[in-house]
Symmetry: C2
Subunit: 217 residues, 2 copies
Amino acid sequence: MDDPEAEAAVPERLPTAPPLTERQRERRRRILHATAQLACRGGFEAVQMREVAESSQVALGTLYRYFPSKVHLLVATMHDQLERLHGTLRKSPPDGETAGERVAQTLMRAFGALQREPRLAEAMARALTFADRSVSPEVDQVSRQTTAIILDAIGGLEDATAARLSAVRVIEHTWLSTLITWLAGRASLAQVRADIETVCRLIDLTEAEPGRAAAPV
Amino acid sequence: MDDPEAEAAVPERLPTAPPLTERQRERRRRILHATAQLACRGGFEAVQMREVAESSQVALGTLYRYFPSKVHLLVATMHDQLERLHGTLRKSPPDGETAGERVAQTLMRAFGALQREPRLAEAMARALTFADRSVSPEVDQVSRQTTAIILDAIGGLEDATAARLSAVRVIEHTWLSTLITWLAGRASLAQVRADIETVCRLIDLTEAEPGRAAAPV
DNA sequence: ATCAAGTCTGAAACTTGTTCTACATTAGCG
DNA sequence: CGCTAATGTAGAACAAGTTTCAGACTTGAT
């Protein structure tokens, strides 16, 4: 019936971006701000739709018009925060020797940033992994953002090989998982660091697209 | 306050296993069976506590005495299913050349098994990553099981080095994440396979512990 | 067999995500 | 301007996870 294996093709209605008026963009901003604030105080469960609506001075129905579910709301919040983070990261590029080291460095920096508001991070990360098919487009967006951050750290503007893209995906998975594991108190910071460094070695095992200099083992 | 960084120490009350009577074990079995059955039909959302209670002929309050939340229930179900799976896998060990190949082979086999009941897999996997601190002991149990499966595939009975353990954790994260991503329709089977194979290379980059071939403790 | 403690049951209540309804406001347009 | 469709509002209603409670049933020890 609706098994997976519908081969990942989910355009949905992201492309349909009806231009928002000023007041609407303002409302949206207020909502995301209220969400982040509530999340900072008490994580996922403190983000209650009625509270968000009240804090952002918007009716519950309106909140649902902007974000069709709590998960959508939190994934959008993650998108928002990641954008900020990506900007920050750009300003001080990693200085590792190999691409793998640079990626590890960048991810640990990102990790540090999220650590500063652990409850917000928890809310966003849990929403992200709890998301079902109906949130796929939005989750994909976040995923593309993460990919962009990693590719930035690798540095080369070249197209990556399939092997390298696979490595990037694996790194992404690992990054999110370790984050969640740490947030749930099931892993120490040392383990997180070790795992990030471990997985980032995969980058140095893959060649960049021909014509570029890369450092194999 | 209760930030993470309480340095991952979660004994909780798993050690306190009050011996169950026969009828109790029977009830528990019925509950897990009903859960799996409902999950097979409609995934996470079809597992409704009232339904589970009714299907397993147990009062709602009793269900909650056995499993303090829906997430606990589904994580326990995963534990149950993994036990079964581990048994199956043991019977036909992987035949790859390198440890990494064997691990990849085993994980793809496990993946195949879960694919057969995608909705059940979805329910269990989502519960697992959605779990918060209150479920840490149970999630850890599942994690240990997965680790055991991977170590089995590696084959050596030797203690693994820290580097290798880190690799195993990374593989675990990747395995779960790809599963979820596939279940949500955001990745193709080919990508799953590529990512599993990619991450399993990490195993062949790490040496097994020198000399000793016995279990300490 | 009996009693106390612990378990189970059925049903209602409570919480929070989500939906719906009836009405007010706004924005774009002829 | 004045209309109309879309958007926003307040609040009730609904759904499913979780809690609570009074009373019946088991169990284990005496």
